[in-house]
Subunit: 272 residues, 2 copies
Amino acid sequence: MGADIEIVCIGNELLIGKVLNTNASWLGKYTTNLGISVKRVTICSDDIQEIASVIRETLNRKPQFIITTGGLGPTYDDKSLQGIAKALDRKLQINAEAFKMVQEKYAEYSKTPNLEACEMSAARVKMATLPEGTTALPNPVGTAPGVYFSFEGVVVVALPGVPKEMEAIFEASVVPLLRQASGEMGFYEESIYADNIMESVLAPLIDIVMHDNPFVYIKSHPRGRESKPHIELHFSMLWKSSENPKQILNKAISQLADLIEKNRGKIFQKTK
Amino acid sequence: MGADIEIVCIGNELLIGKVLNTNASWLGKYTTNLGISVKRVTICSDDIQEIASVIRETLNRKPQFIITTGGLGPTYDDKSLQGIAKALDRKLQINAEAFKMVQEKYAEYSKTPNLEACEMSAARVKMATLPEGTTALPNPVGTAPGVYFSFEGVVVVALPGVPKEMEAIFEASVVPLLRQASGEMGFYEESIYADNIMESVLAPLIDIVMHDNPFVYIKSHPRGRESKPHIELHFSMLWKSSENPKQILNKAISQLADLIEKNRGKIFQKTK
């Protein structure tokens, strides 16, 4: 069994549909491509009690990794670390390492004309106030540090919600951990497109091919209507470095393409 | 207290970041605008056990409504109704109403040249096989019916994953229920944009305005960098028809805009 991960996205803006959850999608794609199985994504509000509940529930499912996004900034609505502290029943305290990181950022910003001086106000100290026993992760492109800890065997990383900050901390500090956990696993995927065959006619053909190719997962995505079918067929598999995923997938693709053509469907390879 | 809702999105394609979860975002915006509070969004895989767990956990939190998306189609990977049946400990059985809906669709499609005849194959009957004690909802633009039931006071609606089908069933069959539950509640929001003031400087100003305007929620969204600030300030509130939300929000907006300008920030009204 490979490693698995859950993603927790914190922010009212995601729940009310103001912001599309591109963070979950970006993280899902990245971790999948590292051969890690994404088990669940949860979006919750900027509410300490709700964040604590979600974190506790997620920890109880014992994924190997949990990544949270959002709620690490200086404002009132940034409550992720308070929620995590509550979930762990730990105190929040100024983290010396995080304090230094934030302080250095503001010393740098203070060189920009018209911006405030570099004193550590309450809002700035807030970004350096972490649950006890956690580690600050440097933010290469923004201010709020990420936060890392391990709890009963689950590695948890809290990242900011601003996409480019989330991505930068993830790539610098989280990817190495994930690579190590993933070991020799990888993910391979390919799509073909079929016209002129209804999804309900495809269904038993997919069953045959999945039965004959037990390591390949096939999912159909209707892009047209059932009465004017245009369907993406997505083939994917988790593989070990000892395998040849392209060859395994291509065998399944050929078999399904043949069956579709025998049923008067038309195949387009890798077209959108 | 107004009505609340949870959204459950079922589909591997969402977890692996192949497809952006526009359904959750569309539903979140729509229901919020009806004055209904979106409490949580959960994405899970096409796995019967996992779907059943998520449905059970969501039912246990007792939101007024649960909407699920995805997994109602004819193929192997469409497992939502199996998962729901397992969660409720109910049998799956052919639903006469749903059977008629699906059958009529294929009778219609069979008029299109080059498509299969209208017989009810196993894959087609699957779309009419619902957990016992549930109701089929007509799909105005696609094939698979939606599914409606009430369980221990929670109204649950299962919708397809194809966005235009999900939206059509939602608007025809779900919106009336939500309007009734929402009663006189509504949602009002407005944004202003501030340049030249860091989020960490804004934080205590937002605190003052939220304290003075207890019904208004203010959330800052950094669109630039802390060192070159461009920040969206999003003001929102749930309101009753007896109130004047525009007036209440504008009072908070004016107060914050004044404070920002006193701190050398620059305000842009409603610009992106």
